[in-house]
């Protein structure tokens, strides 16, 4: 005999770093349906553009999310530069790539650690986070802050990476590559990890596409779509190819992110090698008048900024659609049929960022 029970998962849950609630309808141990309840982190920051000018808004967009903050500011600045017709100097475009990729590295490592914690490997969590500190130290040394870099500005970047910074970056990348080789790659082959991830939270390619999933969630299901292919910033000059897996389960999402970490290391090396000498920013005069849509690739997928200025120093409208917002419908398709004990792993496998989602 079985009947339906409703279990609230969250908002405060040991494996959830952020408050979101999933109302799970269960038949015995199997999930029948899931309903997200959000709003615990809603701030309404898009409305702040009405009181802060468009240059101050850079600092707001950085704080949409503390994990992918730099990439948020890149998306915003690119949008404003499109509206105002500002040409960013080439070195600044390369620097944006470098910091975007260090952000992706630390975000993926962070996620990997949390996932390890969610399937019960606490030691692995500690090991990965120790490796992650190297990236944060690198960001601290090159950008002046560990997490929220504050280096992107309208018209370019605020700081350059000199020879010392370059050497430090290369040394850190070598060390990190070793660490990933030592920690991440064996983990993918580990029997315990495969038991806990292979076939869990599987979703088909068609359903993923229909639900509008983005980023590693989509790429793990065989959709070769990565905004970096559009060649924004300097990605067009770095021979970028997206990482794709086809299984569509938690293991595939893990594989995509581990491979993307190696790819990010390679991209930073290439960017450092090909970075031309030029000024790092151009002065920006006037106010934005016009509207645009700016899209870039975050660690979690595509972020889209709609910006509209009307000649005043404040923008009239800013709208942010973040990757987790697009991935939640896919998550709701993954959960039915899963066992309750697998819900944390499946939820974490889309790398949810609630702060982004609710803004």
């Amino acid at each position: 005999m079985s009947r339906i029970t409703v279990i609230p998962f969250g908002p405060q849950h040991p494996v959830l770093p952020e408050p979101i609630q999933l109302r799970l309808e269960l038949k015995d141990e199997k999930v029948v349906s899931a309903l997200p309840v959000v709003g615990y982190v809603h701030r309404g920051l898009e409305k702040l553009v009405e009181t802060k000018d468009y240059l101050q808004t850079v600092y707001i967009t950085e704080r949409v999310c503390g994990i992918c903050s730099f990439i948020h500011s890149v998306a915003y600045c690119q949008g404003i530069e499109t509206i105002m017709g500002v040409e960013v100097p080439p070195r600044a475009r390369y620097l944006r790539v470098i910091w975007s990729e260090t952000h992706r590295l630390h975000s993926h490592l962070l996620w990997f650690g949390l996932l390890a914690d969610s399937f019960g490997f606490e030691n692995l969590f500690m090991q990965i986070w120790r490796a992650r500190e190297a990236v944060l130290d690198l960001q601290e040394a090159t950008a002046g802050a560990r997490v929220i870099l504050g280096t992107c500005c309208v018209g370019g970047v605020r700081r350059d990476i000199d020879q010392t910074g370059r050497d430090l970056t290369l040394a850190t990348l070598d060390k990190l590559e070793q660490d990933i080789k030592k920690i991440a790659n064996p983990i993918l082959k580990d029997y315990g990890v495969q038991q806990r991830t292979v076939g869990i939270g599987r979703i088909s390619r068609e359903l993923t596409y229909e639900r509008g999933a983005v980023g590693p969630t989509a790429r793990a299901a065989g959709i070769a779509q990565d905004l970096r292919q559009t060649g924004y910033a300097a990605y067009g000059e770095l021979d970028f190819q997206p990482v794709v897996e086809t299984a569509g389960d938690c293991y595939a999402r893990l594989q995509v992110r581990v491979r993307e970490m190696n790819q990010s290391i390679e991209l930073i090396r290439r960017a450092l090698e090909r970075m031309p000498a030029s000024p790092i920013s151009v002065p920006v005069k006037g106010n934005p008048d016009g509207e645009t849509v700016s899209r870039v690739e975050q660690p979690r997928g595509e972020v889209i900024y709609y910006l509209r200025g009307n000649g005043g120093k404040n923008l009239a409208r800013m709208r942010i659609r973040t990757p987790t917002f697009a991935n939640i419908p896919a998550l709701l398709a993954m959960l039915p049929g899963a066992e309750l004990a697998n819900v944390p792993v499946i939820t974490l496998s889309i790398d949810p960022c609630i702060s982004c989602t609710e803004r």
Partner: protein, 176 residues
């Protein structure tokens, strides 16, 4: 710094944070900074905790949740507010869905400024909170934390070059 006799456990509550402070607090627990050196253990159940670590400001939906978590932490307890959002609302203070710092809802013992604070600053704050917890355990009265502002004047005009602000001025930086 005095070594503490007891090992206080911390429960972390993400109120309305952008994750910047969250991940920095978690980084404090990892091998490089290792808060467990001071006996601080990160646990999920508020009933087991002595320290409530809060990140992020208060909004309409989570104010009650925060209050509930606070009530569930047994006495004596200390509250550590990490980051400027948690102290005053920070850059989001003017948002329509933000009530302000968490001191609007619960008493706070230590404010750690920074956006986000570095792990070193968080460790400083935690160590301060341990001292306050010891004092509370001993039955001493502990003043709630203040958020002083700092005013500077040109040296020629002021006899005292620096005037500390009056105690507990939690105001908005005196912008009139």
């Amino acid at each position: 710094m005095k070594v503490l006799a007891k090992s206080p456990w911390a429960v972390h509550f993400n109120c309305n944070s952008c994750n910047g402070c969250d991940i920095e607090f978690l980084a404090c627990l990892t091998p490089l900074y290792d808060l467990e050196r001071f006996g601080v253990l990160h646990i999920g159940n508020p009933k087991h905790a002595d320290i409530l670590v809060v990140t992020g400001s208060v909004n309409h939906r989570n104010a009650r949740v925060l209050e509930n978590v606070y009530i569930q932490v047994p006495d004596p307890k200390v509250v550590v507010a990490i980051g400027v959002c948690t102290s005053t609302g920070g850059i989001f203070a003017d948002c329509y869905n933000i009530l302000g710092g968490i001191d609007k809802v619960i008493p706070v013992d230590v404010f750690v400024p920074g956006c986000p604070p570095r792990p070193e600053a968080i460790i400083d704050g935690m160590v301060q909170s341990l001292a306050k917890l010891e004092a509370k355990r001993a039955g001493k009265k502990v003043e709630p934390a203040r958020k002083p502002t700092f005013t500077f004047r040109p040296p020629a005009e002021a006899e005292a070059p620096v005037t500390p602000s009056p105690a507990g001025s939690a105001g908005r930086g005196g912008k009139e």
